[in-house]
């Protein structure tokens, strides 16, 4: 039922093809963070249309398939939630016309992919694979974000069209190289390009509908979409062309090579997907009319056959309980319809007429023959990769549907109709388009215009006549067949080479790297969070003092040194002596009671200062507070053990230095604040209105109970809370005693 939504969207997009073909653009713009030049905006052009149709079309079929496939699973509502979430993300990604919007949807797909790969979360392997995929694509996403921001800086806007319409400011900006590299990292991680390819085979832990949808037809194509989208900007840049070509060739070959000896059906498909993605990157990087046409056709072809094969692999697993090639065989007897569908898809994958895969491969060879640079090398690698694919297809077909007779636990049978509809439709379209390829020429043409403006799509046809390309195709198939004849020897050799020379273990290394990182952060945390309050405080004080020094204006030493010993000043000196003597007594005291009384002494000294300088209310309050504090302290101290000196001389000196340093800074700060300023005082308002509005002569009192009455209420609440806290702390003790 869920298939209806993507299906109807598919038809909506389909209905817009003629309009887009004419060059009409469908734009949706919503203001988002307009101050930063960010808009939540969408645009439907040829390329977006191409991908949107792919996403919704394949999506609808996958939904039908998944609806039946997931019945044996728990919590399928979550599964469909994630799947729809992903589909929305993917649609947003391919239609966004703002880099930030695109990035947001890009991350949506990464996150939903994480959830879907880890859907069987009770399996450790699934969790690890999900985490690996998330860290790689998410990390790539961050690189992409940085790259996109760098790219958009000269434009003061994140609009995609701005960059595409006028690439010069970006190309000439000093950030061109780093931005390009970061964007490429984003695209390569997403599209599983070597050396980031290893997450894709791992992602096969996901249920088969996910592999069919995300990891073959759509999400991994997001990177390709980004490259295609940016291609008009970058097509003249050597950095872009060479990077794409080199990484494309390597990935194409590495993927095909590792597919050779796999036993797991889904792993085989995953590695051929890696190879196909590499091919697409290479084709975009080759940047000719042939290659771009080939890339678009191949993208479509690949989505069709790979989604089909993943669904069939899921069916086989469901019915026989395994997807290990060694335990499968002779399935053609039990599921003839499924066999036919799979065979057709495999034909498309091998590039054999009359499937559309043949057209894709013909175009690919043509593109490689016409490649501007290193054509022969690319042709040779491409030839080998294709031959490997033919070999793998033959192995798949023979090993699963013919081959040895196996003893299955239960009798295999034809998969349910809903499990066959999706694959059947896709294969049927592949076949139909192979025979009538020009039906999609319009769609491909407008997509082509978005990638390589100024050139025209190469005409698609099944039969090119007898030429070197046909010969190449023939040789490819021949090599594949020859390899298949000697398959035992070849697989043995490949396994030997893989385990002895090409054992990259990228996935394990990735996790080792993560472990090392976690240990590092653990150590770092242990250093910063040591658990000693003194050093936390010391850090705070030193930092505060240094920051104060930084912000303090240049000190001019113009103080009044009028230490007169007459009248008031005499008493002030007396108070100062009291305070200093009391403080010293606190520090050197060997008895806690002496220390407490000396503290009270200091308090009284401060009270005297308040009295002398017109702070009458303060003095009254201070006397009361001091008295109460000392009495309370004496009561508490009575219960505590003797005063002990815990610290050594060294730490005393160190603490002393910190304390004196902080004291100096605060003293200077005080001097700075005491300078007369021309600012109007807030107090003037209180002074003026104290009597007229609040009818009180004591301004301090009036402020407390009238102007700032709510503050005082808060203060009372604090005191009440403290009292409650104290009582409960004491009561807690009594209760414990009684319970004992």
């Amino acid at each position: 039922m869920l298939g209806i939504v993507p299906a109807s969207l598919f038809f909506v997009f389909l209905s817009k093809i003629p309009a887009v073909g004419r060059g009409d653009a469908f734009k949706e713009v919503y203001p988002w963070l307009s101050d930063l030049g960010i808009g939540f905006s969408f645009n439907l052009d040829g390329l977006s249309m191409f991908f949107a149709l792919l996403v919704t079309g394949v999506g609808a079929l996958i939904m039908i398939y998944a609806g039946y496939y997931m019945r044996s699973y728990q919590k399928t509502n979550r599964f469909f939630g994630y799947l729809v979430f992903f589909m929305a993300g993917m649609l947003g990604l391919v239609t966004a016309s703002d880099w930030i919007t695109l990035f947001m949807f890009w991350e949506f797909t990464s996150i939903s992919s994480f959830m879907l790969i880890g859907f069987k979360h009770e399996k450790t392997a699934a969790r690890e694979a999900a985490l690996q995929a998330l860290l790689i694509t998410g990390g790539g996403g961050l690189a992409l974000l940085a790259g996109l921001i760098m790219m958009s800086l000269p434009y003061h806007s994140f609009s995609i069209e701005a960059v595409i319409n006028d690439p010069q400011p970006f190309l000439q900006s000093s950030l061109f190289v780093p931005a390009t590299i970061l964007i490429l990292i984003g695209a390569f991680t997403k599209s599983a390009i070597f050396p980031f390819h290893f997450w894709l085979p791992g992602a096969m832990q996901a249920p088969s509908p996910v592999s069919a949808f995300l990891h073959s037809a759509t999400m991994v194509k997001a990177g390709i979409y980004l490259l295609a989208r940016l291609h008009p900007v970058m097509e003249s840049q050597e950095l872009w062309i060479y990077t794409l070509s080199v990484f494309g060739v390597v990935t194409m070959f590495v993927g095909a090579w590792f597919a050779l000896a796999q036993q797991d059906l889904k792993k085989i498909l995953a590695y051929t997907t890696v190879s196909a993605l590499g091919t697409m990157v290479l084709l975009i990087g080759t940047s000719t009319a042939y290659s771009v046409t080939a890339a678009l056709v191949f993208l479509l072809v690949h989505a069709f056959y790979k989604a089909t094969l993943f669904m069939m692999a899921g069916n086989i697993e469901k019915i026989t309980g395994t997807r290990d090639m060694n335990q499968l065989g002779q399935l053609n007897r039990f599921m003839p319809v499924a066999t036919v569908i799979s065979l057709l898809a495999l034909l498309s994958m091998s590039g054999i007429p009359p499937m559309i895969g043949f057209i894709g491969k013909e175009l690919m060879y043509e593109a490689k023959l016409n490649a501007p640079a290193a054509g022969n090398f690319i042709l040779l690698t491409g030839f080998l990769a294709n031959a490997f694919t033919v070999f793998v297809s033959l192995r798949f077909a023979y090993g699963v549907f013919w081959g040895k007779k196996q003893d299955f636990k239960k009798q295999p049978h034809e998969p349910d109709v809903s499990l066959l509809v999706g694959p059947a439709v896709l294969v049927f379209i592949s076949l139909l388009l192979g025979i009538f390829p020009n039906q999609i020429a319009g769609l491909l043409g407008s997509a082509f215009q978005s990638v390589l403006p100024g050139e025209t799509l190469i005409k698609l046809k099944l039969w090119h006549g007898f030429n070197e390309i046909l010969l190449l195709s023939f040789l490819t198939v021949l090599l594949g067949v020859v390899m298949f004849v000697y398959r035992k020897a070849i697989i043995r050799i490949v396994c030997y080479l893989n385990s002895n020379y090409f054992n990259l273990k990228l996935s394990q290394r990735f996790f080792t790297g993560i472990d090392v990182f976690l240990n590092l952060t653990k150590k770092k945390t242990a250093v910063v969070q040591h658990g000693y309050h003194r050093f936390y405080l010391m850090t705070i004080f030193i930092a505060a003092a240094l920051l104060l020094i930084l912000t303090m204006p240049a000190v001019d030493f113009q103080f009044d040194f009028d230490l007169k010993f007459d009248g008031l000043s005499f008493f002030v000196m007396l108070a100062a002596i009291m305070i200093i003597a009391g403080s010293i007594a606190v520090i050197v005291a060997q008895s806690r009671l002496v220390a407490l009384i000396a503290t009270g002494f200091v308090g009284i000294g401060i009270t005297i200062v308040f009295v002398l300088y017109s702070g009458v209310d303060l003095a009254i309050t201070m006397v009361m507070v001091e008295t109460l504090t000392v009495v309370l302290g004496a009561m508490v101290v009575y219960h505590l053990p003797k005063y002990l000196n815990y610290s050594g001389v060294g730490s005393r000196i160190r603490d002393g230095i910190v304390a004196v340093f902080f004291g100096f800074v605060m003293g200077f700060l005080a001097l700075q604040t005491s300078k007369p300023t021309t600012l109007t005082k807030i107090s003037d308002y209180f002074v003026e209105n104290s009597y007229t509005k609040a009818f009180g002569e004591n301004i301090v009192n009036v402020i407390l109970v009238d102007f700032r009455a709510l503050d005082t209420l808060g203060e009372i609440v604090v005191l009440a809370l403290a009292a409650i806290g104290i009582v409960s702390l004491l009561k807690l003790n009594a209760q414990k005693k009684s319970s004992r």
């Binding site: 000043s569 403080s583 606190v586 220390a595 200062v609 308040f610 303060l618 109460l628 003293g667 002074v687």
Partner: protein, 116 residues
Amino acid sequence: MSLLMAILIGFLYAVSIYLLLRRSIVKLVIGILFLSYATNLMLFFTGGLTETSPAFTDIASTSEVVTASDPLPQALILTALVIGFGVAAFSMVLIYRFYKESGTVDLDELSEIEKS
């Protein structure tokens, strides 16, 4: 007298920091008391030192009370004093409880207890 006051404030801060950095929890609490002394004095000082002229307004006059000391810092300090008392009382009872529960007044030992 502002230099003397500044010296006094700096001195009180220094004493307070020194006490706060001790391992004994009793000294830590006394350090908190000193910290509020120093800060109150600093606030008082920023209001300007006015001799023998408390912030009272004359009943008759409506506006001309410029000579009186600044009432705002005093009001702030008054609040701070009371809150400071609440904090002091609470922390004293807290160290009492702390000692009863843990049997030590050494804060480093507390870290060890926490770790083990």
